[in-house]
């Protein structure tokens, strides 16, 4: 993590470092050509904002990437969408790493946003209950265990949405 603001090369993106509290979060998920970060190419990024108990599905964002087209314009839209909001996701480090491959050269810093990994929230919840069972951390297992509805398709957006629901179920606002 860089010290805030110390390497930002594009002042247009200073809002990423703003202290303003929007009260919102963004659930995010990506699809790539491989799980190996060094070889993978970004295919799709889906993001959806969360305000209080509400997942703002009406304003969700899905971006597609093609090897033949520059990624920067789409990533710019994504950065404006997420702003300084904390990010929520499943296997979030991978998603953020994939995005950072474009972001770091583009604006000088990687994504500075706070990160909330839903599988850790789930793990913490499960290990509070005594017992020696191994915790099944696959996203579809978590969703089934928490009795959450799923979106058909299993694409990036469906996974971002699932992460948002898992987050709200495990860490409800105001409690």
């Amino acid at each position: 993590m860089p010290i805030k603001g110390n390497a930002l090369t594009d002042p247009d993106y200073a809002f990423l470092l703003s202290d303003e509290d929007t009260g919102e979060r963004v659930a995010i998920h990506c699809e790539a050509t491989s799980y190996d970060q060094s070889k993978a190419d970004l295919r799709t990024v889906a993001a959806v904002r969360i305000r209080g108990s509400r997942i703002l599905t009406s304003q969700h964002l899905v971006l597609s990437f093609w090897p033949t087209e520059p990624a920067e314009p789409a990533i710019g839209r994504l950065l404006h969408y997420i702003g300084n909001r904390p990010l929520i996701g499943y296997y979030l480090d991978f998603t953020v790493a994939m995005i950072d491959r474009v972001v770091q050269p583009m604006i000088g810093i990687p994504l500075p946003n706070e990160r909330i990994e839903v599988s850790s929230l789930y793990y913490d919840r499960k290990t509070k209950i005594p017992g020696k069972n191994a915790v099944d951390l696959r996203l579809d297992s978590i969703v089934r265990d928490l009795d959450l509805p799923v979106r058909a398709g299993g694409d990036a957006y469906a996974n971002a949405l699932a992460a948002a629901m898992v987050y709200l179920r495990l860490d409800p606002p105001g409690l």
Partner: protein, 610 residues
């Protein structure tokens, strides 16, 4: 299970595929944990909630008024009800299980209702249905109020007299000329043993058309002389009962023995069916302070009758609050020049502000002036206001908390100074001032002045634990007896209990302290209790018991007061358990032990035992 919106649910099945798509794109999703509040009692709704999975309780006061499961939607009333407060009536929606809802924004719903008439019909019909139910609930309450309406308040037809020697044709002509349906027949001078009879249009028809009497016959022998009459100050209800009992459609109305008019059944029914509160009308029409006197006087009678007919105390309190505030507002508007009304806010405080006073209690009022505004006649207006209210029978406040006292008629900035003083240099008087000011409600003028003063008050109280400890302490000031009887060697008569000190005050003040700590805008104790339950400060079951106990104790107190004021003695708050029925006594005991439990809760919550 899928998160897709189920378009098989009516009325959404009426949407075309293109419209379904529009709806789908506008949807948000709400995820609610068990026991969390989905829609607060005072929160405006911006969308329609359609339950995808889980269970939602619609709560009104302490009761679950409705349950919404999967595929159910709520809440059209909140969405299209305009003034949310009015239609929500303190209803809140709470997740009874982990719940997920689809949220349909109001905007898209109205657009679709406009574009698709079949869908719109369903949406608005459902809404209208629910509104109707609400309206009839309210009219039941008002109907009860009308048991108090007097004959004086109904339209009286001026009496049309004919002499006994007049012919049937003369009688018919007199009816026609005066647009009356009956004439009164004067047989001799009533003052000297004469009598008055009545001849109606129906009588005329029967006599002439059916019996074939000549139209020249004198009416004297044909009129009926057993007149049904009532005094002008009798209850309208008595007139209704009399008409029903004797199957007649009119009664003669007298005042001090003399006939002043005829009350027709149709006019009586008009009053009873057109019941937008007789007293309220009187207030609205007042053009001088004097006109308000009788309205204000009627309130006491209204309370007695309502109480006598078994109307529940919270309803009476609502009604009385509404009427008293109307009177205060009207009186202020009559006395104050328009620019004073515009640049000030008349407030009522204490029980008046909480909407809990029943009989006329002490005046607790004040006036907040806009900073920089000066009114040359201010002193005269405020003096006249207080004096007139005293004259109407609202006793002056012993602590002199009235607009006629310059300490309570001052600019907003001076109110803020006072609030600062109350918080930071608390003595007994300051504590009390703060308590009653927190209960204040705006009655006339610009309510934003009170809002600003209250906002300042809440802003000054951030994290001031010391303050709350001192503020809450009076809740424990009076002893609450745990048992009404002395034990084994009980005396024949138990000690009377001061119900205000032992029961009502601890609840009111304890709840007030909790509400203040949570920065709540509610002023009514029962509403505060439920709002505290919504926030999780009070356990829901405990809140329910407490609200019920509060209502029961208030009822007992009203009973005690109605009795003592009729006897003409000093108003007091003493109740004697041996005068109660067994049921009341048992419940009274339960209430007192609940109050004790609540006091322990307050002591623990505010660290009063350290």
């Amino acid at each position: 299970m899928s998160d897709a919106f189920d378009f098989a649910i009516p009325p959404f099945d009426r949407l075309t595929p293109a419209e379904q798509q529009r709806l789908e794109q506008a949807l948000d999703i709400g995820v609610y944990a068990k026991d969390s509040v989905i829609l607060n009692r005072d929160e405006p709704a911006d969308c329609l909630f359609v339950v995808l999975q889980g269970l939602v309780h619609e709560r009104q006061g302490g009761d679950v008024a409705a349950v919404h499961g999967a595929r159910d939607s709520f809440d059209m009333k909140a969405l299209f009800g305009g003034v949310a407060q009015q239609h929500r009536q303190g209803r809140s929606f709470v997740a009874a299980e982990d719940t997920i809802c689809h949220l349909i924004p109001r905007q898209i719903l109205t657009e679709l209702a406009r574009d698709n008439p079949a869908f719109g019909e369903f949406v608005y019909q459902d809404f209208a249905e629910k509104l109707r139910t609400l309206a009839s609930e309210r009219s039941n309450r008002e109907m009860a109020a009308l048991t108090m309406a007097r004959i004086r308040q109904a339209y009286l037809h001026p009496p049309v007299f004919v002499d006994a020697s007049a012919s049937l044709r003369d009688a018919a002509a007199a009816m026609k000329q005066n647009q009356a349906s009956s004439v009164l027949v004067r047989d001799g001078d009533p003052a000297r043993g004469g009598c008055i009879g009545i001849l109606t249009g129906t009588d005329l028809r029967d006599l002439v058309v059916l019996d074939g009497r000549p139209v020249e016959s004198p009416v004297g022998p044909l009129a009926r002389y057993e007149l049904l009459s009532l005094d002008r100050d009798d209850l309208l209800f008595n007139a209704l009962i009399m008409m029903t009992k004797h199957s007649v459609r009119r009664v003669v109305v007298k005042e001090q023995g003399a006939v002043v008019g005829v009350l027709e059944q149709i006019d009586l029914l008009a009053v009873l069916s057109n019941h937008s509160q007789v007293i309220a009308l009187q207030v609205d029409r007042a053009t001088a302070p004097e006109d308000l006197r009788s309205a204000s006087h009627d309130i006491v009678g209204l309370i007695r009758t309502l109480h006598g007919t078994g109307v529940k105390v919270p309803f009476i309190a609502d009604l009385v609050t509404e009427l008293n505030r109307k009177i205060f507002r009207k009186l202020f508007e009559l006395l104050a020049p328009p620019d004073l009304v515009e640049n000030s806010c008349l407030i009522v405080m204490g029980s008046e502000g909480r909407g809990e006073q029943l009989l006329k209690t002490d005046q607790d009022n004040g006036l907040i002036l806009r900073d920089g505004y000066e009114c040359p006649t201010l002193g005269q207006v405020t003096d006249a206001f207080t004096r007139t209210l005293v004259d109407f029978g609202y006793p002056p406040c012993p602590g002199n908390i009235m607009v006629s006292n310059p300490d309570w008629t001052r600019p907003l900035s001076a109110y803020k100074d006072a609030i600062f003083h109350w918080i930071h240099r608390p003595d007994e008087a300051a504590q009390m001032n703060l308590a009653i000011f927190y209960d204040a409600a705006a009655v006339a003028g610009d309510p934003s002045l009170l809002e600003e003063a209250k906002g300042y008050l809440l802003g000054r109280l951030q994290d001031n634990q010391m303050f709350f400890t001192a503020f809450a302490r009076p809740a424990l000031a009076f002893d609450t007896p745990s048992s009404l009887f002395g034990g084994l060697f009980e005396r024949k008569r138990s000690e009377p209990v001061d119900i205000k000190k032992a029961g009502i005050f601890p609840i009111v003040h304890g709840i007030r302290a909790l509400a203040l700590e949570k920065h709540m805008a509610e002023t009514n104790t029962t509403e505060r209790i439920w709002a505290l339950a919504d926030k999780g400060v009070l356990d829901r079951a405990f809140a329910g018991e407490l609200a019920e106990a509060f209502t029961f104790l208030s009822t007992l107190r009203l009973k005690a007061r109605v009795d003592t004021t009729t006897a003409g003695t000093q108003i007091d708050n003493l109740v004697r358990s041996e005068e109660m029925g067994k049921l009341d006594r048992d419940q009274f005991k339960d209430c007192l032990s609940l109050v004790k439990k609540f006091k322990e809760f307050i002591a623990y919550h505010f660290h009063l035992n350290h």
